[in-house]
Each structure stands twice: as structure tokens, then as C-alpha cells.
């Protein structure tokens, strides 16, 4: 006997974004249409015959008694050609389409598919009739921007021998390939956002994600496939750092999630990215970027979903074999969305009102990062970089603490540094990277065997400085032994020349590894000359007053810096000769 499930129910209660419906069958996380306006919602709790739904749009004006319809499907994203350069809200509705449909403000009840279903894409098969196409296998390609979107057999298919494969222009819904299993493949696949896409194996990351930011690449690198958190109070530069990473990191695809943040910031990204060039390809940065913008005043349930939408899109590109980096700004807003929904559900709260499952959700999310062997054998990676906005800048709060237990890189932003316009305001004493060992080999081989030692030296100087600063605070720097006065000066150079970087300067915004290494070597050279002059008894005032070293800060802003650097270094030699002769 066929069991007929009831897909329609009626609303019983409306309390902000959480509504209760009765009289219908539902599964957890089914997508439902709520009320006469068919607002989109998701089942988050089932209690007796009551089904509790979070609604992704404003529920103003919705009444008890209105209908609810279950689609029977979980919240899923559309994956296929057309993702790149798009800007979506938290549930993958293209904001451009929403604007065409409802004007400058986001109204309700508008349905917009994630991909353009009319547009035809040029499909080039890479497999032929008779080939074996297993789940995840790449059967063809679409040249989208300068990036090729690879068309794969969906991971949840059985797979089989290709009985027919086409070539030419198709929409994402047209069938381009048939298998002997009876399965038909089109360019688009749907994937539920809360389920990680399967892979063969996760590997250990051993290649750095180069970002062009000296403090990160030089001192606290993150690996491709790694995880990093950027916590900091407001105004310390989280968003500027995230945007710098989105702009300059050497990932092939960037997914940027503006989760509960400012509208104007997303506009900045939208106006800036199409104009900026990818340093590697010379193409606009936008061509490798997918943006998800669910600003703070957009519905809170969609904010909760936005992070999953983003990482699922990232996984799709990873499966093609790309290195993807995903920026989530800010995970605290995501956690707050969870808290808000949880409190509407009247769940027993954990720490600071956050739900008890906060930690589990955070770790599930970060675990979707990684360097993996995809089902088709390609190596791909997702690097997840999450901003954290701790209330009052207090790192002991639950979101920061739960994040720290998971991520391997911690870039602590410091309001004191940003107040004195030291940017990026990443505190070099509190930050850490657990990838130094696994990436050591890369630096040895690709940069120089001297790089790791010079990094350790720089860290030691900075550490030593912080100890000395405590004394300086009490007695002034003149009271220090002479050698330590040199240390203070060298540390100051490290801070002002190497660590400070201007994200708004065309040249300084991105610093190559070679230039980073040259800068460190130049500072090291001054340090060596200064210590030996000091040992030889030269006056400390003269050593610290060396003029040429002050010029080092300026090479940051010079693209072709080598001639200038050489001149500075030879001037420095000459000055020290004079000092020792005097």
C-alpha cells in the first residue's frame, strides 16, 4: 500500500523568524514554503505533530492558518557554470536578479535560482563514448572566465559507461551525457549544503597559501588546505585583512562570505574586485571569485545558512582540483544567528546564551577545509579563514575559544596596534601558526634554506624586544646596556619596515616572497653590522643614527626595488666603515 505523505500543513504560531506548523509530514532540514507569500524556510525541529521552521525572509504580516508546503528536499545549492563572478545572498539567490525583480530593496517571496538556466555554455567533452565515468569523474569542461569549470558526474550517482556524450552549446539543464546505468548528466548538479561532498582522502597540507602579506607569509603562514582564524575587536582591521587575503592569496578560486556584516563593505568588494588584477593571471580578480553577501540587516536564518552555502560552493571547485580559499567574515555573526534561532526555540542555552551545539557546528564547518584527493583523483584544497568578532575584544568568549580549539593558525588582531596605525594590526607575540614544521620543507626548497633560520631570528628579536620594553617603560631606553639598545633598534626596524604593510598602496599591498626575504636579509645585515660595531666599541648613538637604514622603509613602495636596495646596502657599509674609523 502506498503511504501518502502529507506535504501541506497549516501555520499555528509565528514568532519572528521561527514559525510553527501542524498537520504535515516533514524531515529535519527539509525546505518548506511558508504562508501565502511562499516564504522560504527550513525545518529545524519536530515536536509531536508540531514542526518548527526557521524562515529565511521577514515574517511580518504572516498569520496563523496560512498554508505551509513541504518541498521534501533539503536546502541545496545549484552547482555548475555561472557561479564565478556571481554575488549571492545566504541562500544562493543572485542579488543581481533580485534587484531586477524587486528593485533596490530586498522584498519578500521572490524565488531566484542560483544559476542562469537560460544561458548557453560551450561544453567540451573530455571523455568519449564507452569511457567509464565513475562518480566525481570529469566528463567535460566549460571555459567560463579564464577559469575552466569542469563538469563532473555528481558524487551521489552510481556512474557507468558513457553511452552518449555531446559537444556544443547547452543550458545547465540540458543533458550532455548519458550513462549505461541509465543516469543522465547535465552541467548543473544540486548538493545539500549541510552535507560535506565526499572525497577519497584528506592529506596533510604542505604548501603555503602565499598571501603577499609579510607578517603572514614570513612569520605565521597558513597552508593550502589549512584553517586560520582572525579574531579582533572592531576597528582592528579584520575586514581589511580578509579582503587583502581574498585579493592577493595565490588560491585559484576565492569564495568570500560576508556573513552578517556591513552592506557598504560588500559594495566595496563589488566595485573593487572587477578593477583589481590577479597578480598571477592579469585578469580581474572578480573572475575567480564567488561572493556571498548576507548583510547584518538581512534575515538572520539566511545568515545561518550562508556559511554552508559558501563552503559547499568551495567544495565543488575543490573537487575539480582547484586550490580554493574561503573567507568567512564573520563567524561570530554566524554563531549569533545560531544563538538567536536557538533562543526562539527556547532551547537550554550554553555559555553566554549560545546553544550547546556551538562547538560542534564550528568544528564541523572548519573540518570541511583540507587538502584532499577528490573522487576523480585530482588534488584540491580549501583553506578556510574565519574572522571572529569577540565582544569587547575579549578572546575568552565562547566563539573565539571554540574556534581556537580547531584552527591551526591564529592571527590575533590588536586594537592597540591599529590605534597607532600599525597595519596589518596582527600581534606578532600572540599569533601563531602550527604549519611552520610542515611548510618548512617548502620554504627551504622554494625560497632559500636561509629563510627558516632568518624567520626564527626575527621572532627572537621581537620576543626579546617585548621583554626589554618592560624595562624601557620603567627606566627609559638610554639606561639599557648598549647591545640591547641595538636590539631595540633592530626590532623597531622589523616592525616598521617588515611587519607594517599598507594595504591601500598599489605596490605594498602585495609583497612577493623574494622581496620579503630581501627585506629580512637587509635588516639582518644592519643588525650584524651594528652588533659588531658596538662590540668594537663604536658609540651607540652613531650606530643607531645610521641614515641609510631609515631608507629601507621606502623600498616597500617601490616595485623595482632591487637597485635602490643595493644602494642602501652599500651606503650602509660605507657608514659603518666611517663609524669604526671615527
Amino acid at each position: 500500500m502506498e503511504v501518502k505523505s502529507k506535504t501541506k500543513g497549516i501555520l499555528k504560531r509565528i514568532s519572528g523568524p521561527v514559525v510553527t506548523a501542524v498537520n504535515f509530514d516533514a524531515h529535519m532540514y527539509d525546505v518548506v514554503r511558508v504562508g501565502n507569500e511562499q516564504l522560504m524556510g527550513e525545518v529545524i525541529k519536530i515536536d509531536g505533530d508540531k514542526v518548527i521552521i526557521q524562515v529565511y525572509e521577514s515574517t511580518d504580516g504572516v498569520r496563523p492558518g496560512e498554508p505551509v508546503e513541504n518541498t521534501g528536499l533539503p536546502l541545496a545549492v545549484e552547482l555548475g557554470p555561472g557561479l564565478l563572478t556571481s554575488i549571492y545572498d545566504g541562500i544562493q539567490r543572485p542579488l543581481e536578479v533580485l534587484m531586477e525583480k524587486m528593485g533596490s530593496f530586498i522584498e519578500r517571496g521572490v524565488n531566484a535560482p542560483g544559476l542562469d538556466h537560460e544561458k548557453k555554455w560551450d561544453f567540451k567533452p573530455v571523455m568519449k563514448k564507452g569511457d567509464e565515468a565513475a562518480p566525481g569523474a570529469i566528463i567535460g569542461e566549460v571555459q567560463e572566465t579564464n577559469i575552466v569549470t569542469k563538469i563532473m558526474v555528481p558524487p551521489n550517482f552510481k556512474g557507468g559507461k558513457i553511452t552518449e556524450i555531446k559537444k556544443g552549446a547547452f543550458t545547465v539543464d540540458d543533458i550532455v551525457c548519458k550513462l549505461d546505468s541509465g543516469e543522465e548528466i547535465c552541467m548543473m548538479q544540486k548538493w545539500p549544503v549541510r552535507v560535506p561532498r565526499p572525497v577519497i582522502e584528506k592529506k596533510n597540507p604542505d604548501v603555503p597559501l602565499l598571501t603577499g602579506l609579510r607578517i603572514l607569509d614570513g612569520l605565521f603562514p597558513v597552508a593550502k588546505g589549512g584553517t586560520a582564524a582572525i579574531p579582533g575587536p572592531f576597528g582592528s582591521g579584520k575586514t581589511v585583512t580578509q579582503q587583502s587575503l581574498a585579493k592577493w592569496s595565490d588560491a585559484e578560486i576565492v569564495v568570500y562570505i560576508g556573513c552578517g556584516e556591513r552592506g557598504n563593505e560588500m559594495t566595496e568588494v563589488l566595485t573593487e574586485f572587477p578593477e583589481l588584477e590577479d597578480p598571477k593571471t592579469g585578469k580581474p580578480l572578480m573572475e575567480r571569485t564567488v561572493l556571498i553577501a548576507n548583510t547584518s540587516n538581512m534575515p538572520v536564518a539566511a545568515r545561518e545558512a550562508s556559511v554552508y552555502t559558501g563552503i559547499t560552493i568551495a567544495e565543488y571547485f575543490r573537487d575539480m582540483g582547484y586550490d580554493v580559499s574561503l573567507m568567512a567574515d564573520s563567524t561570530s555573526r554566524w554563531a549569533e544567528a545560531m544563538r538567536e534561532i536557538s533562543s526562539r526555540l527556547e532551547e537550554m542555552p550554553g555559555e553566554e546564551g549560545y546553544p550547546a551545539y556551538l562547538s560542534a557546528r564550528l568544528s564541523e564547518f572548519y573540518e570541511r577545509a583540507g587538502r584532499v584527493e577528490a573522487l576523480n583523483g585530482n588534488m584540491g584544497s580549501i583553506t578556510v579563514i574565519g574572522a571572529v568578532s569577540p565582544p569587547g575584544g575579549d578572546f575568552s568568549e565562547p566563539v573565539t575559544q571554540n574556534t581556537l580549539r580547531i584552527v591551526k593558525c591564529f592571527w590575533a588582531l590588536d586594537a592597540k596596534l591599529s590605534q597607532r596605525r600599525h597595519f596589518p594590526a596582527i600581534n606578532w607575540l600572540n599569533s601563531y601558526s602550527l604549519y611552520l614544521n610542515s611548510l618548512g620543507k617548502y620554504y627551504d626548497e622554494k625560497i632559500s634554506p636561509e629563510f627558516n633560520p632568518i624567520r626564527s631570528w626575527a621572532m627572537e628579536v621581537l620576543q626579546k624586544e617585548s621583554e626589554l620594553q618592560e624595562i624601557v617603560q620603567l627606566v627609559g631606553s638610554d639606561a639599557l646596556p648598549e647591545a640591547e639598545q641595538v636590539t631595540i633598534e633592530v626590532a623597531r626596524m622589523l616592525r616598521e619596515v617588515f611587519l607594517q604593510q599598507n594595504a591601500f598602496d598599489a605596490v605594498d599591498a602585495y609583497c612577493s616572497m623574494e622581496k620579503q626575504f630581501d627585506m629580512l636579509k637587509a635588516i639582518r645585515k644592519y643588525a650584524d653590522l651594528a652588533y659588531s660595531a658596538q662590540k668594537a666599541g663604536s658609540p651607540i648613538a652613531a650606530i643607531i643614527a645610521v641614515k641609510s637604514k631609515n631608507e629601507l622603509a621606502r623600498i616597500k613602495y617601490v616595485a623595482d626595488y632591487k637597485p635602490e636596495l643595493e644602494k642602501i646596502l652599500s651606503d650602509m657599509d660605507a657608514e659603518f666603515v666611517k663609524i669604526r674609523e671615527a
Binding site: 530586498i106 552592506g263 557598504n264 540587516n297 597607532r420 627606566v475
Partner: protein, 457 residues
């Protein structure tokens, strides 16, 4: 319209009604007291069994005998061009003895989120005439920049000075001020109104007043009325609107009061867990829209309880707004007006509004250099307290003097002193010229050659 007499419970600002027809979430409600007085409220929670109504006025006088009328629509406000020059109450009723507003349109006071794709990037420099804002924390059209202050500090004077002096140099477009007061005292009101009248600003202004003795719950809608008006003036009529919201702390207190009455699980310090989202639904109603003429710029004022910037109100605000101007008690005690401490102050949109063609090519670098110099000088003050000024090196003494001069010459200015941006930057150069030239590491050499007083005639 059907009237229900099925009130079952009244608690604080909340009235619970049962056995109703289906009532919409967010619906506007009229409550008729037994003495015939009508009060307004809004549906906070609705089900087929019980409806929870939040009353915007005091619930004094409401009993189980009250009649409840559901109006069938969400809260809408009448808006029109003739609102300019009017003074309205915190719930939008005329308070100046004038006629009712002739509605050109009726708008939902909650507004809707601006589609980020439809936003245009703010880029027009607003000159406030205050150096610490213009030169170091630039305000840009379409920005939301709050003033973080403390009890007893002159934030109202600063807000008024900005409202008086703010202009986009070289532009003569229509502007308007929307002023929303939440829980301010009668004296403060007088101060604002006297200034508006003195300068003739009132004819370009729409004023919403919820005073300290008006119902706290009304504060929940006052800023929404103001912002709805502002959006109408900006995006329908093409005005450049400056919205002044004061005091956001009173608004948040009202939010907490409502949350407590609803027996919600509280977040930090008893404030509701959704306060971030709620504040965002106000602050985010600023900006510029592609293809529309006007703009909404927000200047909200909040007093930090105990001058604590980590208190949830300034903290959550700072995470939403595009920077903050911090008013400092120590500077105020030194007799410096405006006592703006530039160190924790910030304008996130500054870089969009400054530079060649907008202000001046040296703007950013001069600002950065002053920040760095002032920070160093302030640090040295701590050292001087221990070892004395004489123990400092020559270089350090110069920085120490720089910090003092910075406060005295750059920060300090008159209540009616309207400095142009060029004046502010030149004062900056004047001060920087007292530092050794090789210490000006933040400034390119060609800019030094061009603007440093030493090289200028």
C-alpha cells in the same frame, strides 16, 4: 473592525489576548481603554491560541476590560515633503501644534534591507569643519559614523556643530536633517531646538522627540520612523539626508526592558541576544543607491555606560557602524573642545573619500604620520611620569612635545570654528615640522618636498 475583550494577562509593556481570529505577525494594534483612551501596539508573537501585543505607550490604565482592535496591517507611517520643518512626537504625531502630515505615501517603518548589489560605493567627502574628523577620521556621504561618548561630555555640542557645518565642498544639492531623540531630557531638547532655530536649520529638518519621561517602549519605534522618513526624503525626493539619532543607549535600554518583559533568555549584561541584529536593522539603513540621487548619512550618538567601550552597546554598535568618533573625558577635563580622542576613533570609509581630486594627495599619509607621532608621544607621557622629562632623549622629547601640541593646536578648536580640510592638513604639517624630518617615515619624500613648511614659501 472587530474588537476583542479577551485580554488574559498584562505584564510590563505586553498585553496577551486570546481567542482571536488569525492575527498577523507585526500587525498594528489599537488598544481601547475603559476610559476611551486609545493606545497603539504591535504583535510580537501570534498563534491561534494567544497573541502577544507590545504596547508603545505606558500600559497604565489598561485592564482586562480593554478592547483590542487588530488593524490588519503592519505599522506604516505617512510621509510627505511637508514633513520638513515639523516637530513630531516619538510615535510620529505632530507636536508643534501644526496640522497632521499630508501623506504622499505610507511606508512600512521597518523598511527593507538595501540589496548590497544596488548600493553605490560612498565616495563623497563631507567637510564637517572639525579637524579630528575631517583630517584623521573622515566622514563620507552614505556612511554611518556614531559618536561614542560618556555622561557629561559635550557630544551634543559636537553633533550640533557637525549638523551646522557639514557640507560637501563645491556642491549645492538639497540637504535635510532628520533628528530623532530617544529618551533625552527636556533641557537637551531645548538645547537642540534653540540651535536649530538660531541657525535656521529647522526648515530643512524633521524632528522626532521621545523625551526621558515619554514611554520607554515608544523608543523602539522612534528611530524607525526617523529612518523611514530619511529614506523617503533621500531615495524618493533626492535629498542628501543627515540622520542624527540620540541617544542609542536609551534605545538599547528600552530593548532590554522589552526583552525582560517577554522573559527571553538574555545575552551579555541582560541585553537581548538579538541586539546585534536589531541594531543592524537601524544602522544599516544608511547609504547610497545606484541610480538614485539622494543619500542617507547616519550620525548616532551613544553614551558609553561607565565610559566602557567594551560595554555591549558601544561594542555591538562598533561592529556594525563604519567607524566611531570617541569623545574622551581626559581631554574634556583638560579643557579641550572638541575632546575627540583620535586614537580609538576610526572612519572605515575614509580612504574612499580622500586623496587627489577629493581632498588632497597628502591627506592619508599626513593622517597616518600624525597618528603614529601622537601614539608615540602619549606612550612617552607614561615614562615621563616615572623618570622625568630630562631623562628622555632629544628625539623622544620632540615626540612628547608633538603630542601636547597636537592636542592643543589640532584637536582644540572653537565651537563655531569651521576649518577647511586644507587648513586642517596644514595645521598637521605645521605640527609635524617640529619632528626630525627623517622620522616622517610614513610620508613619501616628494610629498614632504611639496608640503613640508620647510620647503614651502
Amino acid at each position: 473592525m472587530k474588537e476583542y475583550r479577551t485580554v488574559t494577562k498584562i505584564q510590563g509593556p505586553l498585553v496577551f489576548v486570546e481567542k482571536t481570529e488569525p492575527v498577523a505577525y507585526g500587525e498594528l494594534v489599537n488598544i481601547v481603554q475603559s476610559d476611551g483612551k486609545v493606545k497603539r501596539g504591535q504583535v510580537l508573537d501570534t498563534s491561534d491560541e494567544i497573541v502577544c501585543v507590545q504596547v508603545f505607550e505606558s500600559t497604565a490604565g489598561i485592564g482586562k476590560d480593554a478592547g483590542i482592535r487588530f488593524t490588519g496591517e503592519t505599522i506604516k507611517m505617512p510621509v510627505g515633503r511637508d514633513m520638513l520643518g515639523r516637530i513630531l512626537s516619538g510615535s510620529g504625531k505632530p507636536k508643534d501644534g501644526g496640522p497632521d502630515i499630508v501623506p504622499e505615501k505610507r511606508l512600512d517603518i521597518n523598511g527593507a534591507a538595501i540589496n548590497p548589489y544596488a548600493r553605490a560605493s560612498p565616495s563623497e567627502f563631507i567637510q564637517t569643519g572639525i579637524s579630528t574628523i575631517d583630517a584623521t577620521n573622515t566622514l563620507v556621504r552614505g556612511q554611518k559614523l556614531p559618536i561614542f561618548s560618556g555622561a557629561g561630555l559635550p557630544h551634543n555640542e559636537i553633533a550640533l556643530q557637525i549638523a551646522r557645518q557639514a557640507k560637501v565642498p563645491g556642491s549645492s544639492e538639497e540637504f535635510a536633517v532628520v533628528f530623532a531623540a530617544m529618551g533625552i531630557t527636556k533641557e537637551e531638547e531645548n538645547q537642540f531646538m534653540a540651535d536649530f532655530e538660531r541657525t535656521g536649520a529647522l526648515e530643512h529638518a524633521v524632528v522626532f522627540l521621545n523625551l526621558a519621561d515619554d514611554p520607554a517602549v515608544e523608543r523602539f519605534i522612534t528611530p524607525r520612523l526617523a529612518l523611514t522618513t530619511a529614506e523617503y526624503l533621500a531615495f524618493e525626493l533626492g535629498f542628501h539626508v543627515l540622520v542624527i539619532l540620540t541617544d542609542m543607549t536609551n534605545y538599547c535600554e528600552a530593548l532590554r526592558q522589552i526583552g525582560a518583559a517577554r522573559e527571553e533568555v538574555p545575552g551579555r549584561r541582560g541585553y537581548p541576544g538579538y541586539m546585534y541584529t536589531d541594531l543592524a536593522s537601524l544602522y544599516e539603513r544608511a547609504g547610497i543607491i545606484k541610480g538614485k540621487k539622494g543619500s542617507v548619512t547616519q550620525l548616532s550618538i551613544l553614551t558609553m555606560p561607565g565610559d566602557d567601550i567594551t560595554h555591549p552597546i558601544p561594542d555591538l554598535s562598533g561592529y556594525i557602524t563604519e567607524g566611531q568618533i570617541v569623545v574622551n573625558r581626559e581631554l574634556h577635563r583638560k579643557g579641550i573642545y572638541p575632546p575627540i580622542n583620535v586614537m580609538p576613533s576610526l572612519s572605515r570609509l575614509m580612504n574612499l573619500g580622500i586623496g587627489p581630486g577629493k581632498t588632497r594627495e597628502d591627506h592619508k599619509k599626513v593622517s597616518d604620520q600624525m597618528y603614529a607621532g601622537y601614539a608615540e608621544g602619549v606612550d612617552l607621557r607614561g615614562l615621563v611620569a616615572i623618570v622625568g622629562k630630562d631623562a628622555l632623549s632629544e628625539r623622544d622629547q620632540r615626540f612628547l612635545e608633538f603630542a601636547d601640541a597636537f592636542e592643543d593646536k589640532f584637536v582644540r578648536q572653537g565651537h563655531d570654528e569651521d576649518r577647511s580640510i586644507a587648513d586642517s592638513l596644514d595645521i598637521g604639517w605645521q605640527l609635524l615640522s617640529a619632528l626630525p624630518e627623517e622620522q616622517l617615515t610614513r610620508i613619501d619624500r616628494d610629498l614632504i618636498q611639496k608640503y613640508h613648511p620647510k620647503y614651502r614659501k
